[in-house]
Symmetry: C2
Amino acid sequence: MTSLPSGRRAARGPLSAAASRRVERPAPLRQAVYDALLELIVNRTLAPGQHLVEAELAEYLGVSRQPVREALQRLQTDGWVDLRPAQGAFVHTPTEEEADQLLAVRSVLETYSAKLAAEHATAQDVKQLKKLQKAGEDALAAADVDRLVEANANLHAAVASIGRNKVLSEMIGLVDRRVRWYYTPIARPRSRDSWNEHAELIAAIADGDAERAGEVMHRHAEQTRQTYHDQKTTEGN
Amino acid sequence: MTSLPSGRRAARGPLSAAASRRVERPAPLRQAVYDALLELIVNRTLAPGQHLVEAELAEYLGVSRQPVREALQRLQTDGWVDLRPAQGAFVHTPTEEEADQLLAVRSVLETYSAKLAAEHATAQDVKQLKKLQKAGEDALAAADVDRLVEANANLHAAVASIGRNKVLSEMIGLVDRRVRWYYTPIARPRSRDSWNEHAELIAAIADGDAERAGEVMHRHAEQTRQTYHDQKTTEGN
DNA sequence: ACCGGCAAGATTGCATACAGTATACGGACA
DNA sequence: TGTCCGTATACTGTATGCAATCTTGCCGGT
Protein backbone atom coordinates (compact mmCIF):
# COMPACT_ATOMS: atom_id res chain seq x y z
CA MET A 1 0.00 0.00 0.00
CA THR A 2 1.61 3.17 -1.13
CA SER A 3 -1.21 5.61 -1.17
CA LEU A 4 -4.35 6.44 0.73
CA PRO A 5 -7.77 5.58 -0.60
CA SER A 6 -8.28 8.97 -2.16
CA GLY A 7 -11.86 9.33 -1.12
CA ARG A 8 -11.45 13.02 -1.54
CA ARG A 9 -12.55 13.27 -5.13
CA ALA A 10 -14.98 10.42 -4.91
CA ALA A 11 -17.39 11.04 -7.73
CA ARG A 12 -20.74 11.18 -6.03
CA GLY A 13 -23.16 9.86 -8.57
CA PRO A 14 -26.11 12.21 -9.02
CA LEU A 15 -28.45 10.90 -6.36
CA SER A 16 -27.19 7.46 -7.15
CA ALA A 17 -29.14 4.76 -5.35
CA ALA A 18 -30.37 7.13 -2.64
CA ALA A 19 -26.90 6.97 -1.16
CA SER A 20 -25.41 9.56 1.16
CA ARG A 21 -28.31 11.51 2.52
CA ARG A 22 -26.04 13.50 4.80
CA VAL A 23 -24.09 16.39 3.30
CA GLU A 24 -20.89 14.46 3.76
CA ARG A 25 -18.18 17.07 3.81
CA PRO A 26 -15.02 15.64 2.35
CA ALA A 27 -12.92 14.59 5.31
CA PRO A 28 -9.63 16.45 5.26
CA LEU A 29 -6.62 14.43 4.24
CA ARG A 30 -4.98 15.04 7.60
CA GLN A 31 -7.63 12.84 9.17
CA ALA A 32 -6.88 9.96 6.85
CA VAL A 33 -3.19 10.46 7.48
CA TYR A 34 -3.79 10.53 11.22
CA ASP A 35 -5.68 7.27 11.06
CA ALA A 36 -3.07 5.64 8.85
CA LEU A 37 -0.16 6.69 11.03
CA LEU A 38 -1.93 5.71 14.22
CA GLU A 39 -2.59 2.29 12.79
CA LEU A 40 1.07 1.95 11.87
CA ILE A 41 2.10 2.96 15.35
CA VAL A 42 -0.36 0.74 17.15
CA ASN A 43 0.58 -2.33 15.15
CA ARG A 44 4.23 -1.46 15.70
CA THR A 45 5.20 -1.07 12.09
CA LEU A 46 6.54 2.20 13.37
CA ALA A 47 8.51 1.31 16.47
CA PRO A 48 8.71 3.37 19.64
CA GLY A 49 11.56 5.85 19.43
CA GLN A 50 11.67 5.75 15.67
CA HIS A 51 12.29 9.02 13.91
CA LEU A 52 9.43 9.92 11.62
CA VAL A 53 10.61 11.97 8.68
CA GLU A 54 7.83 14.03 7.18
CA ALA A 55 9.00 13.68 3.61
CA GLU A 56 9.24 9.90 3.86
CA LEU A 57 5.78 9.52 5.33
CA ALA A 58 4.40 11.91 2.75
CA GLU A 59 5.80 9.90 -0.10
CA TYR A 60 4.76 6.61 1.45
CA LEU A 61 1.20 7.83 1.83
CA GLY A 62 1.11 9.62 -1.49
CA VAL A 63 0.39 13.08 -0.11
CA SER A 64 2.38 16.21 0.48
CA ARG A 65 4.18 17.07 3.71
CA GLN A 66 1.47 19.43 4.81
CA PRO A 67 -1.23 16.97 5.87
CA VAL A 68 1.46 14.79 7.38
CA ARG A 69 2.67 17.66 9.54
CA GLU A 70 -0.81 18.35 10.74
CA ALA A 71 -1.47 14.72 11.52
CA LEU A 72 1.79 14.44 13.43
CA GLN A 73 0.89 17.39 15.55
CA ARG A 74 -2.41 15.89 16.54
CA LEU A 75 -0.69 12.60 17.20
CA GLN A 76 1.49 14.49 19.60
CA THR A 77 -1.34 16.03 21.58
CA ASP A 78 -2.91 12.60 21.76
CA GLY A 79 0.29 11.16 23.16
CA TRP A 80 1.43 8.94 20.31
CA VAL A 81 4.49 10.83 19.14
CA ASP A 82 6.89 13.33 20.62
CA LEU A 83 7.59 16.40 18.56
CA ARG A 84 11.00 17.88 19.25
CA PRO A 85 11.41 21.39 17.88
CA ALA A 86 13.59 21.53 14.80
CA GLN A 87 14.21 17.80 15.06
CA GLY A 88 10.96 16.24 14.12
CA ALA A 89 8.63 13.56 15.29
CA PHE A 90 9.53 10.41 17.20
CA VAL A 91 7.18 7.61 18.04
CA HIS A 92 6.49 7.94 21.72
CA THR A 93 8.30 5.50 23.95
CA PRO A 94 6.09 4.35 26.78
CA THR A 95 7.65 4.23 30.18
CA GLU A 96 6.54 2.04 33.00
CA GLU A 97 5.73 5.09 35.06
CA GLU A 98 3.53 6.57 32.38
CA ALA A 99 1.74 3.29 31.83
CA ASP A 100 0.89 3.10 35.50
CA GLN A 101 -0.35 6.67 35.51
CA LEU A 102 -2.56 5.98 32.54
CA LEU A 103 -3.92 2.84 34.12
CA ALA A 104 -4.71 4.79 37.26
CA VAL A 105 -6.52 7.52 35.37
CA ARG A 106 -8.40 5.01 33.32
CA SER A 107 -9.46 3.24 36.45
CA VAL A 108 -10.93 6.41 37.86
CA LEU A 109 -12.66 7.42 34.65
CA GLU A 110 -14.11 4.01 33.94
CA THR A 111 -15.33 3.58 37.47
CA TYR A 112 -17.32 6.76 37.09
CA SER A 113 -18.38 5.69 33.65
CA ALA A 114 -19.77 2.44 35.04
CA LYS A 115 -21.79 4.32 37.63
CA LEU A 116 -23.26 6.57 34.98
CA ALA A 117 -24.03 3.59 32.81
CA ALA A 118 -25.96 1.96 35.62
CA GLU A 119 -27.96 5.13 36.06
CA HIS A 120 -28.79 5.59 32.40
CA ALA A 121 -28.96 2.16 30.85
CA THR A 122 -32.14 1.30 28.99
CA ALA A 123 -33.33 -2.24 28.28
CA GLN A 124 -31.98 -1.70 24.79
CA ASP A 125 -28.57 -0.79 26.17
CA VAL A 126 -28.42 -3.85 28.36
CA LYS A 127 -29.32 -6.03 25.42
CA GLN A 128 -26.49 -4.51 23.45
CA LEU A 129 -24.06 -5.08 26.30
CA LYS A 130 -25.04 -8.71 26.54
CA LYS A 131 -24.48 -9.09 22.84
CA LEU A 132 -20.98 -7.67 23.19
CA GLN A 133 -20.38 -9.91 26.15
CA LYS A 134 -21.35 -12.92 24.09
CA ALA A 135 -18.98 -11.85 21.31
CA GLY A 136 -16.23 -11.80 23.88
CA GLU A 137 -17.13 -15.20 25.26
CA ASP A 138 -17.09 -16.63 21.77
CA ALA A 139 -13.70 -15.14 21.03
CA LEU A 140 -12.49 -16.52 24.32
CA ALA A 141 -13.77 -19.99 23.48
CA ALA A 142 -12.15 -19.77 20.06
CA ALA A 143 -8.97 -18.49 21.66
CA ASP A 144 -8.94 -15.75 19.04
CA VAL A 145 -6.78 -13.09 20.62
CA ASP A 146 -7.44 -10.36 18.09
CA ARG A 147 -11.18 -10.71 18.31
CA LEU A 148 -10.92 -10.86 22.07
CA VAL A 149 -9.03 -7.61 22.25
CA GLU A 150 -11.52 -5.96 19.96
CA ALA A 151 -14.50 -7.29 21.89
CA ASN A 152 -12.98 -6.00 25.07
CA ALA A 153 -12.49 -2.53 23.63
CA ASN A 154 -16.01 -2.52 22.24
CA LEU A 155 -17.55 -3.48 25.54
CA HIS A 156 -15.77 -0.78 27.45
CA ALA A 157 -16.61 1.79 24.79
CA ALA A 158 -20.25 0.74 24.96
CA VAL A 159 -20.37 1.16 28.71
CA ALA A 160 -18.83 4.60 28.35
CA SER A 161 -21.30 5.67 25.73
CA ILE A 162 -24.28 4.53 27.78
CA GLY A 163 -23.27 7.00 30.46
CA ARG A 164 -24.32 9.81 28.11
CA ASN A 165 -21.30 11.92 28.94
CA LYS A 166 -19.49 12.67 25.72
CA VAL A 167 -16.57 14.42 27.32
CA LEU A 168 -16.01 11.41 29.52
CA SER A 169 -16.29 8.81 26.81
CA GLU A 170 -13.96 10.64 24.47
CA MET A 171 -11.42 10.86 27.22
CA ILE A 172 -11.80 7.19 28.01
CA GLY A 173 -11.38 6.42 24.34
CA LEU A 174 -8.05 8.19 24.17
CA VAL A 175 -6.70 6.81 27.41
CA ASP A 176 -7.95 3.33 26.77
CA ARG A 177 -6.33 3.09 23.38
CA ARG A 178 -2.98 4.13 24.75
CA VAL A 179 -3.23 1.74 27.64
CA ARG A 180 -3.96 -1.12 25.31
CA TRP A 181 -0.97 -0.18 23.20
CA TYR A 182 1.28 -0.42 26.22
CA TYR A 183 -0.40 -3.46 27.55
CA THR A 184 -0.78 -5.59 24.43
CA PRO A 185 2.79 -6.78 24.00
CA ILE A 186 2.62 -8.30 27.45
CA ALA A 187 1.07 -11.67 27.94
CA ARG A 188 -2.63 -11.41 28.54
CA PRO A 189 -3.29 -14.20 30.97
CA ARG A 190 -6.38 -13.25 32.85
CA SER A 191 -8.88 -13.21 30.01
CA ARG A 192 -11.20 -15.67 31.73
CA ASP A 193 -11.33 -13.68 34.95
CA SER A 194 -11.67 -10.49 33.04
CA TRP A 195 -14.75 -11.66 31.20
CA ASN A 196 -16.31 -12.95 34.37
CA GLU A 197 -15.92 -9.49 35.79
CA HIS A 198 -17.55 -8.08 32.69
CA ALA A 199 -20.54 -10.30 33.33
CA GLU A 200 -20.77 -9.00 36.88
CA LEU A 201 -20.53 -5.47 35.61
CA ILE A 202 -23.32 -5.91 33.12
CA ALA A 203 -25.52 -7.45 35.77
CA ALA A 204 -24.97 -4.46 38.03
CA ILE A 205 -25.75 -2.07 35.19
CA ALA A 206 -28.87 -4.02 34.31
CA ASP A 207 -29.99 -3.69 37.92
CA GLY A 208 -29.38 0.03 37.77
CA ASP A 209 -27.12 -0.38 40.77
CA ALA A 210 -24.61 2.43 40.31
CA GLU A 211 -22.69 1.73 43.48
CA ARG A 212 -22.12 -1.90 42.64
CA ALA A 213 -21.32 -1.17 38.99
CA GLY A 214 -18.72 1.34 40.06
CA GLU A 215 -17.30 -1.03 42.58
CA VAL A 216 -17.04 -3.88 40.09
CA MET A 217 -15.44 -1.71 37.45
CA HIS A 218 -12.98 -0.36 39.96
CA ARG A 219 -12.00 -3.85 40.99
CA HIS A 220 -11.74 -4.85 37.34
CA ALA A 221 -9.47 -1.93 36.50
CA GLU A 222 -7.27 -2.35 39.53
CA GLN A 223 -6.98 -6.04 38.75
CA THR A 224 -5.69 -5.18 35.30
CA ARG A 225 -3.32 -2.67 36.76
CA GLN A 226 -2.02 -5.23 39.19
CA THR A 227 -1.56 -7.79 36.46
CA TYR A 228 0.35 -5.28 34.39
CA HIS A 229 2.54 -4.48 37.31
CA ASP A 230 3.23 -8.11 38.14
CA GLN A 231 4.16 -8.80 34.54
CA LYS A 232 6.57 -5.93 34.50
CA THR A 233 8.33 -6.84 37.72
CA THR A 234 8.79 -10.51 36.84
CA GLU A 235 9.72 -9.73 33.28
CA GLY A 236 13.47 -9.98 33.60
CA ASN A 237 13.42 -13.60 34.79
CA MET B 1 -0.39 44.67 19.58
CA THR B 2 -0.12 43.57 16.03
CA SER B 3 2.63 41.05 16.06
CA LEU B 4 4.07 38.37 18.25
CA PRO B 5 7.35 38.80 20.11
CA SER B 6 9.46 37.19 17.43
CA GLY B 7 11.61 35.16 19.75
CA ARG B 8 12.50 32.88 16.91
CA ARG B 9 15.56 34.65 15.66
CA ALA B 10 16.62 35.81 19.10
CA ALA B 11 20.36 36.24 18.80
CA ARG B 12 21.80 33.97 21.44
CA GLY B 13 24.94 35.72 22.59
CA PRO B 14 27.91 33.36 22.61
CA LEU B 15 27.70 32.05 26.15
CA SER B 16 26.52 35.48 27.19
CA ALA B 17 26.37 35.87 30.93
CA ALA B 18 26.18 32.16 31.60
CA ALA B 19 22.58 32.35 30.48
CA SER B 20 20.57 29.42 29.11
CA ARG B 21 22.25 26.32 30.35
CA ARG B 22 19.55 24.18 28.79
CA VAL B 23 19.67 23.72 25.04
CA GLU B 24 16.60 25.87 24.70
CA ARG B 25 15.17 24.98 21.34
CA PRO B 26 13.38 27.92 19.82
CA ALA B 27 9.71 27.44 20.59
CA PRO B 28 7.78 26.97 17.36
CA LEU B 29 5.65 29.87 16.24
CA ARG B 30 2.55 27.73 16.34
CA GLN B 31 2.91 27.55 20.08
CA ALA B 32 3.01 31.32 20.42
CA VAL B 33 0.01 31.55 18.13
CA TYR B 34 -1.81 28.92 20.16
CA ASP B 35 -1.20 30.87 23.36
CA ALA B 36 -2.22 34.15 21.78
CA LEU B 37 -5.43 32.78 20.33
CA LEU B 38 -6.35 30.94 23.50
CA GLU B 39 -5.91 34.14 25.44
CA LEU B 40 -8.16 35.96 22.99
CA ILE B 41 -10.79 33.27 23.32
CA VAL B 42 -10.66 33.04 27.08
CA ASN B 43 -10.95 36.78 27.56
CA ARG B 44 -13.75 36.77 25.02
CA THR B 45 -12.16 39.08 22.51
CA LEU B 46 -13.07 36.28 20.18
CA ALA B 47 -16.66 35.46 20.98
CA PRO B 48 -18.20 31.99 20.97
CA GLY B 49 -19.51 31.12 17.54
CA GLN B 50 -17.31 33.66 15.82
CA HIS B 51 -15.82 32.61 12.52
CA LEU B 52 -12.04 32.68 12.65
CA VAL B 53 -10.56 33.43 9.28
CA GLU B 54 -7.04 32.14 8.97
CA ALA B 55 -5.80 35.02 6.83
CA GLU B 56 -7.14 37.62 9.23
CA LEU B 57 -5.59 36.02 12.26
CA ALA B 58 -2.35 35.60 10.38
CA GLU B 59 -2.18 39.25 9.50
CA TYR B 60 -3.22 40.32 12.96
CA LEU B 61 -0.49 38.24 14.52
CA GLY B 62 2.06 39.07 11.88
CA VAL B 63 2.68 35.51 10.73
CA SER B 64 1.66 33.39 7.79
CA ARG B 65 -1.41 31.21 7.64
CA GLN B 66 0.59 28.09 8.29
CA PRO B 67 1.29 28.44 12.01
CA VAL B 68 -2.23 29.76 12.46
CA ARG B 69 -3.70 26.63 10.91
CA GLU B 70 -1.63 24.43 13.13
CA ALA B 71 -2.60 26.37 16.22
CA LEU B 72 -6.27 26.21 15.26
CA GLN B 73 -6.10 22.47 14.90
CA ARG B 74 -4.67 22.03 18.33
CA LEU B 75 -7.24 24.42 19.70
CA GLN B 76 -9.82 22.10 18.25
CA THR B 77 -8.52 18.97 19.90
CA ASP B 78 -8.40 20.90 23.16
CA GLY B 79 -12.02 21.89 22.76
CA TRP B 80 -11.72 25.62 22.17
CA VAL B 81 -12.77 25.83 18.54
CA ASP B 82 -14.78 23.74 16.14
CA LEU B 83 -13.21 23.06 12.77
CA ARG B 84 -15.76 22.49 10.05
CA PRO B 85 -14.30 20.97 6.89
CA ALA B 86 -13.97 23.47 4.07
CA GLN B 87 -15.60 26.12 6.23
CA GLY B 88 -13.02 26.92 8.79
CA ALA B 89 -12.75 27.47 12.50
CA PHE B 90 -15.42 28.76 14.82
CA VAL B 91 -14.95 29.58 18.45
CA HIS B 92 -16.60 26.78 20.36
CA THR B 93 -19.96 27.60 21.86
CA PRO B 94 -20.37 25.98 25.25
CA THR B 95 -23.65 24.29 25.93
CA GLU B 96 -25.14 23.76 29.32
CA GLU B 97 -24.96 20.03 28.80
CA GLU B 98 -21.30 20.10 27.95
CA ALA B 99 -20.50 22.32 30.90
CA ASP B 100 -22.16 19.86 33.23
CA GLN B 101 -20.29 16.97 31.71
CA LEU B 102 -17.01 18.78 32.12
CA LEU B 103 -17.82 19.64 35.71
CA ALA B 104 -18.62 16.01 36.39
CA VAL B 105 -15.38 14.79 34.87
CA ARG B 106 -13.40 17.41 36.68
CA SER B 107 -15.02 16.37 39.92
CA VAL B 108 -13.92 12.79 39.42
CA LEU B 109 -10.40 13.67 38.35
CA GLU B 110 -9.81 16.16 41.10
CA THR B 111 -11.16 13.88 43.76
CA TYR B 112 -8.60 11.32 42.75
CA SER B 113 -5.99 14.02 42.48
CA ALA B 114 -6.67 15.07 46.07
CA LYS B 115 -6.24 11.51 47.29
CA LEU B 116 -2.93 11.22 45.51
CA ALA B 117 -1.82 14.55 46.90
CA ALA B 118 -2.54 13.37 50.42
CA GLU B 119 -0.47 10.27 49.81
CA HIS B 120 2.50 12.09 48.31
CA ALA B 121 2.66 15.49 49.93
CA THR B 122 5.93 16.44 51.57
CA ALA B 123 6.32 19.12 54.22
CA GLN B 124 7.57 21.33 51.44
CA ASP B 125 4.44 20.73 49.42
CA VAL B 126 2.18 21.55 52.31
CA LYS B 127 4.05 24.76 52.88
CA GLN B 128 3.53 25.71 49.27
CA LEU B 129 -0.17 24.94 49.49
CA LYS B 130 -0.54 27.11 52.54
CA LYS B 131 1.18 29.92 50.73
CA LEU B 132 -1.25 29.62 47.85
CA GLN B 133 -4.11 29.47 50.28
CA LYS B 134 -2.94 32.71 51.85
CA ALA B 135 -2.72 34.36 48.45
CA GLY B 136 -6.32 33.41 47.92
CA GLU B 137 -7.41 34.70 51.29
CA ASP B 138 -5.68 37.99 50.57
CA ALA B 139 -7.36 38.31 47.20
CA LEU B 140 -10.65 37.51 48.88
CA ALA B 141 -10.12 40.19 51.49
CA ALA B 142 -9.17 42.67 48.80
CA ALA B 143 -12.18 41.59 46.76
CA ASP B 144 -9.86 41.31 43.80
CA VAL B 145 -11.72 38.97 41.48
CA ASP B 146 -8.95 38.46 38.96
CA ARG B 147 -6.38 37.55 41.58
CA LEU B 148 -8.92 35.32 43.26
CA VAL B 149 -9.56 33.39 40.08
CA GLU B 150 -5.87 33.01 39.49
CA ALA B 151 -5.18 31.92 43.05
CA ASN B 152 -7.92 29.36 42.77
CA ALA B 153 -6.48 27.94 39.57
CA ASN B 154 -3.00 27.88 41.08
CA LEU B 155 -4.12 26.04 44.14
CA HIS B 156 -5.89 23.34 42.20
CA ALA B 157 -2.96 23.00 39.85
CA ALA B 158 -0.61 22.66 42.81
CA VAL B 159 -2.70 19.90 44.34
CA ALA B 160 -2.72 18.09 41.03
CA SER B 161 1.02 18.35 40.63
CA ILE B 162 1.68 17.04 44.14
CA GLY B 163 -0.05 13.81 43.15
CA ARG B 164 2.93 13.01 40.91
CA ASN B 165 0.74 11.79 38.10
CA LYS B 166 1.55 13.83 35.03
CA VAL B 167 -1.12 12.33 32.85
CA LEU B 168 -3.68 13.22 35.45
CA SER B 169 -2.54 16.76 36.07
CA GLU B 170 -2.35 17.58 32.39
CA MET B 171 -5.86 16.33 31.96
CA ILE B 172 -7.05 18.33 34.91
CA GLY B 173 -5.33 21.38 33.47
CA LEU B 174 -7.22 21.10 30.21
CA VAL B 175 -10.57 20.37 31.76
CA ASP B 176 -10.19 22.94 34.47
CA ARG B 177 -9.39 25.73 32.07
CA ARG B 178 -12.42 25.00 29.99
CA VAL B 179 -14.66 24.79 33.01
CA ARG B 180 -13.45 28.14 34.23
CA TRP B 181 -14.13 29.64 30.82
CA TYR B 182 -17.71 28.46 30.98
CA TYR B 183 -18.10 29.32 34.59
CA THR B 184 -16.45 32.73 34.78
CA PRO B 185 -19.16 34.84 33.18
CA ILE B 186 -21.54 33.66 35.85
CA ALA B 187 -21.61 35.35 39.20
CA ARG B 188 -19.17 33.71 41.57
CA PRO B 189 -20.92 34.04 44.89
CA ARG B 190 -19.52 31.29 47.01
CA SER B 191 -15.92 32.43 47.19
CA ARG B 192 -15.90 32.47 50.98
CA ASP B 193 -17.24 28.95 51.27
CA SER B 194 -14.96 27.79 48.55
CA TRP B 195 -11.85 28.96 50.32
CA ASN B 196 -12.98 27.45 53.58
CA GLU B 197 -13.20 24.15 51.76
CA HIS B 198 -9.73 24.70 50.41
CA ALA B 199 -8.49 25.07 53.96
CA GLU B 200 -10.13 21.80 54.92
CA LEU B 201 -8.58 20.17 51.90
CA ILE B 202 -5.10 21.34 52.74
CA ALA B 203 -5.50 20.13 56.30
CA ALA B 204 -6.46 16.68 55.08
CA ILE B 205 -3.53 16.60 52.71
CA ALA B 206 -1.18 17.72 55.46
CA ASP B 207 -2.46 14.84 57.60
CA GLY B 208 -1.84 12.46 54.75
CA ASP B 209 -5.46 11.41 55.03
CA ALA B 210 -6.28 10.37 51.46
CA GLU B 211 -9.84 9.35 52.21
CA ARG B 212 -10.72 12.64 53.79
CA ALA B 213 -8.90 14.69 51.17
CA GLY B 214 -10.81 12.91 48.45
CA GLU B 215 -14.06 13.36 50.28
CA VAL B 216 -13.47 17.08 50.80
CA MET B 217 -12.49 17.65 47.22
CA HIS B 218 -15.48 15.73 46.00
CA ARG B 219 -17.77 17.83 48.13
CA HIS B 220 -16.01 20.95 46.92
CA ALA B 221 -16.39 20.03 43.27
CA GLU B 222 -20.00 18.97 43.59
CA GLN B 223 -20.75 22.17 45.44
CA THR B 224 -19.36 24.14 42.51
CA ARG B 225 -21.34 22.05 40.12
CA GLN B 226 -24.49 22.66 42.07
CA THR B 227 -23.84 26.37 42.18
CA TYR B 228 -23.32 26.43 38.46
CA HIS B 229 -26.52 24.57 37.94
CA ASP B 230 -28.52 26.83 40.22
CA GLN B 231 -27.19 29.89 38.45
CA LYS B 232 -28.18 28.51 35.13
CA THR B 233 -31.71 27.61 36.09
CA THR B 234 -32.49 30.95 37.74
CA GLU B 235 -30.73 32.89 35.04
CA GLY B 236 -33.77 33.95 33.12
CA ASN B 237 -35.35 35.88 36.03
C1' DA C 1 44.63 8.39 19.58
C1' DC C 2 41.42 12.00 21.15
C1' DC C 3 39.21 16.40 21.07
C1' DG C 4 37.40 20.64 19.00
C1' DG C 5 35.99 23.09 15.10
C1' DC C 6 34.21 23.35 10.52
C1' DA C 7 31.68 22.23 6.37
C1' DA C 8 28.13 19.51 3.88
C1' DG C 9 23.89 17.21 3.89
C1' DA C 10 19.45 16.38 5.80
C1' DT C 11 15.22 17.99 7.85
C1' DT C 12 12.27 21.00 9.99
C1' DG C 13 9.57 25.47 10.22
C1' DC C 14 7.54 29.02 7.87
C1' DA C 15 5.95 31.37 3.72
C1' DT C 16 3.82 31.49 -0.60
C1' DA C 17 1.20 29.62 -4.48
C1' DC C 18 -2.43 26.97 -6.43
C1' DA C 19 -6.72 24.20 -6.59
C1' DG C 20 -11.17 23.05 -4.99
C1' DT C 21 -15.34 24.05 -2.32
C1' DA C 22 -18.83 26.83 0.04
C1' DT C 23 -21.41 30.97 0.35
C1' DA C 24 -23.54 35.16 -1.45
C1' DC C 25 -25.34 37.81 -4.88
C1' DG C 26 -28.06 38.78 -8.97
C1' DG C 27 -30.71 37.91 -12.89
C1' DA C 28 -34.13 35.00 -15.45
C1' DC C 29 -38.34 32.87 -15.26
C1' DA C 30 -42.78 31.34 -13.38
C1' DT D 1 -43.14 38.93 -6.14
C1' DG D 2 -40.90 34.75 -5.16
C1' DT D 3 -37.97 30.96 -6.49
C1' DC D 4 -34.38 28.69 -8.98
C1' DC D 5 -30.12 28.67 -11.09
C1' DG D 6 -25.62 30.42 -12.53
C1' DT D 7 -21.79 33.17 -11.63
C1' DA D 8 -18.52 35.63 -8.69
C1' DT D 9 -16.13 35.97 -4.43
C1' DA D 10 -14.06 34.30 -0.26
C1' DC D 11 -11.87 30.96 2.17
C1' DT D 12 -10.11 26.55 3.14
C1' DG D 13 -7.11 22.44 1.90
C1' DT D 14 -3.04 20.95 -0.30
C1' DA D 15 1.26 21.49 -2.58
C1' DT D 16 5.63 23.56 -3.33
C1' DG D 17 9.54 26.63 -2.28
C1' DC D 18 12.90 28.78 0.72
C1' DA D 19 15.66 29.82 4.74
C1' DA D 20 17.28 28.52 9.23
C1' DT D 21 18.85 24.85 12.11
C1' DC D 22 20.34 20.50 13.49
C1' DT D 23 23.25 16.47 12.65
C1' DT D 24 27.04 14.04 10.94
C1' DG D 25 31.44 13.24 9.35
C1' DC D 26 35.93 14.95 8.29
C1' DC D 27 40.15 17.42 9.22
C1' DG D 28 43.69 19.63 11.86
C1' DG D 29 45.67 20.34 16.29
C1' DT D 30 47.27 18.60 20.58
